[in-house]
């Protein structure tokens, strides 16, 4: 039975833990800290170039453009100093650019994959080529960014794309049994047109709920209990705070793009079937001839491995590789083991193809 004196002595510790817990939930961590400069803007999109830290003669000749999803901040690629993919690649001598899609407003509700892949990306790439002085470039697409980069690479293969990296790419929607999102957005249950007619853009809160509801107990309960248990571990706290800051930064997805994601991809798998039309033209994956690295997260519940495994036979690339890594959708790039597995593999693969 606990003594009164022991409880009194424990109270300050408990109180301190409560205050730390509250601070972590109510403040933002400093993320996206690697120095960069803004080199181009269009509407809400911004192209950043990260300040090189390696001497010009030691840098890779071919610049690298990072493209993330449409409904989350790309700062996940530059989460915190000392544990940032961007910082790592800049340190390895790459000329790194990042395309931030920004937050769509009501005026952007009709933006589709067509606009992102054939208007925004070519213009950003054009600027990158001018700034970097290299006509050839590498593209890294993660999550929805992988869909956009795949479409771009298939439709504009002559623009100078040399290397294409796809991370947790949701490309193949044929195995509906493994895709919970496909079940939720089935046309019998989910009226996407009514939803978009009401809101214009797909609300960020609904996207956030959808991704968290795949593992509700982990995301809404265990996540916070794990934090409480590790409040005495400064590294764990810092890591949690940074990730939480990124997760909480939600915003809408352009309605047109969301509709394409649901109707063309989740319901009809048009990209893999060769039926996806972008600006009236069929997306032919055989025209994608860039060197290709597909990174699959074996524990990914958002984009199961089956969605990325079948891309290789579909494309025209002769130099193509699948790299499987243990981890989740975000964890393979932002988790504690990323710097030991995913990042070095990307560097090794890309470095050999960036001269």
């Amino acid at each position: 039975m606990m003594q009164t004196e022991e409880l009194s002595a424990s109270w300050p510790v408990f109180d301190e833990k409560l205050k730390t817990f509250h601070r972590l939930l109510t403040t933002k961590a400093a993320i996206g800290q690697t120095p960069k400069e803004l080199v181009w803007t269009l509407n809400k999109a911004k192209l950043y170039r990260y300040i090189p830290v390696v001497a010009p003669e030691a840098r890779h000749r071919v610049p690298l453009l990072l493209i993330f999803a449409l409904m989350n901040r790309p700062t996940i690629m530059d989460l915190r100093p000392g544990h940032s993919f961007v910082e790592y690649m800049v340190g390895k001598g790459y000329d790194v650019f990042l395309l931030d899609w920004g937050t769509p407003g009501p005026e952007d509700k009709d933006l589709k994959f067509d606009d992102y892949a054939l208007d925004y990306m070519p213009r950003a790439i054009r600027k990158m080529q001018m700034v970097s002085g290299s006509s050839e470039f590498s593209l890294l697409g993660w999550c929805i960014g992988a869909i956009l980069t795949t479409i771009y690479a298939s439709m504009r293969p002559q623009d100078g794309l040399r290397n294409l990296l796809l991370l947790t790419a949701p490309l193949d929607f044929s195995d509906r049994q493994q895709l919970t999102f496909a079940r939720w957005t089935d046309e019998r249950y989910f009226d996407v047109d009514q939803l978009l007619a009401t809101f214009g853009n797909m609300p960020g809160e609904m996207i956030d709920y959808g991704s968290k509801a795949l593992k509700p107990v982990e995301n809404y309960v265990t996540n916070y209990i794990r934090l409480w248990d590790n409040l005495d571990n400064p590294r764990a706290v810092e890591s949690w705070h940074a990730m939480h800051t990124w997760v909480k930064d939600i915003f809408p997805m352009a309605g047109g793009a969301y509709r394409q994601l649901i109707v063309d991809l989740y319901r009809n798998n048009r990209l893999m079937k060769g039926e996806l039309k972008i600006r009236g033209e069929l997306v032919d994956l055989k025209r994608l001839r860039a060197n290709l690295l597909t990174v699959i997260a074996e524990g990914d519940h958002l984009t199961p491995p089956c969605q990325s495994e079948t891309i290789l036979p579909q494309v025209g690339s002769t130099d193509a590789e699948i790299y499987r890594v243990r981890g989740g959708h975000i964890g393979i790039m932002a988790g504690s083991g990323a710097h030991k597995q995913t990042w070095p593999h990307i560097d090794g693969w890309l470095g050999a193809r960036s001269h």
């Binding site: 606990m2 022991e6 424990s10 170039r49 009501p106 005026e107 919970t180 019998r188 309960v221």
Partner: protein, 143 residues
């Protein structure tokens, strides 16, 4: 519980329940993952969403009409008018970006052809071009 040196170690009131808590959460997690993966869950959540959108539609339409009428009376632009203006601005921005790219190409061509000429004649200063370039929205800004 007092330590041997006589001082009290901090007591975690949840320590005795931690193992039980973790087992409970693990089992609940599996139950909930199975539940959200079911057709019934998809059906119910879809029905709830569709119902709420359908039921709220008349109120939203009435509110939109009333708001539009009020804004017109006050000579204040409506949301749709602002959206239209924003779309026009984006189109204008695209055209400016294309012009910017053409200027870059011209500047690059000019630099490439200028080198042998520069040795024979003094350099031509282009303050207006430089000033325009530095004030251009797409100019590099450290962040």
């Amino acid at each position: 519980m007092a330590a041997d040196n006589g001082t009290s170690a901090p007591v975690d009131p949840f320590e005795s329940f931690r193992a039980l808590r973790d087992v409970y959460l693990e089992n609940m997690s599996k139950v909930m993952i199975n539940a959200v993966n079911s057709e019934e869950y998809a059906q119910v959540t879809g029905a709830m969403l569709n119902s709420s959108l359908t039921l709220s539609a008349p109120f939203r339409e009435a509110l939109d009409k009333a708001m539009l009428a009020a804004l017109q009376q006050l000579s204040i632009p409506s949301r749709q008018q602002v959206v239209n203006l924003a779309e026009q601005l984006t189109n204008l921005e695209m055209r400016l970006d294309d012009m910017d790219a053409k200027l870059d190409r011209i500047a690059a061509l000019f630099s490439a052809t200028r080198s042998p000429v520069a040795e024979a004649s003094p350099p031509v200063s282009r303050p207006s071009a430089a000033a325009a370039k530095s004030s251009r929205r797409a100019g590099a800004r450290k962040v």
